[in-house]
């Protein structure tokens, strides 16, 4: 019973646990749980790996035709509005 409750609590805290934003006391309590509970260890480990896989993905270059249309649209906007004017603080 206690273990199930703790597993649920561990899951609720998983985001903060992985992001390392928990108080040291709470973190060590969860750390103890994950070391003793094989299911939570697997969930924690595979969630961490999930995040790692996504973080390693680089965005593909924008297709040339789309990039050209973007730059053309910007050229047009620049021609219409002129260069950027930084707003000066009012005196």
């Amino acid at each position: 019973m206690t273990r199930l409750l703790t597993c649920k609590r561990f899951l609720q805290e998983l985001t903060d646990y992985l992001d390392e934003t928990l108080d040291p006391e709470v973190r060590s309590e969860l750390q103890r749980h994950v070391n003793e509970c094989p299911n939570c260890w697997v969930i924690c480990n595979t969630t961490e790996k999930t995040l790692k896989v996504f973080k390693g993905m680089e965005a593909k270059p924008v297709p040339e035709a789309i990039q050209k249309r973007l730059l053309d649209a910007l050229e047009k906007r620049i021609a219409e509005r002129g260069p950027i004017c930084e707003k000066k603080p009012q005196a």
Binding site: Q12, T15, D19, N39, T50, F54, K55, P61, L74, R77
Partner: protein
């Protein structure tokens, strides 16, 4: 003869062939300062440095190539138009992401009926049902796939999430914005971001575990 006004410098053609400066860590601040002073080549460098990330994010949120292109254009056109108002209180990229997310969500809302605005969907915060696959992964499972195959797998996985979860995951875990920045960009509370992020992470873990789990671990469970 008088000097040209500062805003007239470097307002030339934006060169699509010119490569953005990529050597070393990218420092956007000097480029932003130059762009604000009217140097269009600096703005062009910012566009070319960030366009792929804005485009990817737009595609992931809208799940539609045409909408993603519109979002890409609108984002940089608005950034150009309002750069003079950018005070530098956040990173330029964070500011850009906020514009892009708003544009992408507007596209989504236009495509759906007013009764099903995705970010207003009630969020089920019960975590129990999303943890079904309990199995360890192969060592470096991603190496079993080519870069393109893995890219498609990950894109599909993200796109399968509900918009409310997907958007939070994209900003926090793909674009690596902080929880606070994500909350600000989406106009959500910190606790709403954390709750959606947990749900998104667990759902993605579930999907990837089905592909990456160690062979023979199908019946792996300890309880």
């Amino acid at each position: 003869m008088s000097s040209p006004p500062p805003n007239s410098v470097s307002v030339g053609k934006l060169d699509p062939a010119a490569e953005p400066p990529v050597s070393g860590p990218f420092d956007e601040a000097p480029l932003v300062a130059r762009a604000k002073a009217g140097d269009m080549s600096a703005f062009s460098d910012l566009v070319k440095h960030y366009d792929r990330r804005v485009f990817r994010m737009a595609k992931q949120i809208t799940q539609n190539d045409d909408d993603a292109e519109d979002v890409l254009q609108e984002t940089f056109l608005k950034a150009y138009t309002h750069l003079g108002d950018f005070q530098g209180n956040s990173k330029f990229y964070t500011w850009l992401v906020r514009i892009a997310v708003n544009e992408a969500l507007m596209k989504l809302r236009k495509r759906r009926s007013s009764r099903t605005v995705p970010l207003d969907e009630p969020i089920d915060t019960g975590e129990d049902e999303v943890v079904r696959e309990i199995a360890v992964w192969d060592e470096n499972p991603e190496q079993q796939y080519s870069r393109d195959e893995l890219g498609s797998i990950l894109e599909e996985a993200v796109e399968s999430l509900k918009p409310a979860y997907r958007t939070v995951f994209i900003l926090r875990d793909i674009e690596e914005m902080s929880i606070e920045e994500t909350a600000e960009a989406l106009d959500l509370s910190i606790s709403a971001v954390k709750s959606r992020l947990l749900r998104a992470r667990l759902q993605l873990r579930e999907k990837l575990t089905r592909l990456f789990k160690r062979k023979g671990d199908d019946a792996f469970a300890y309880l």
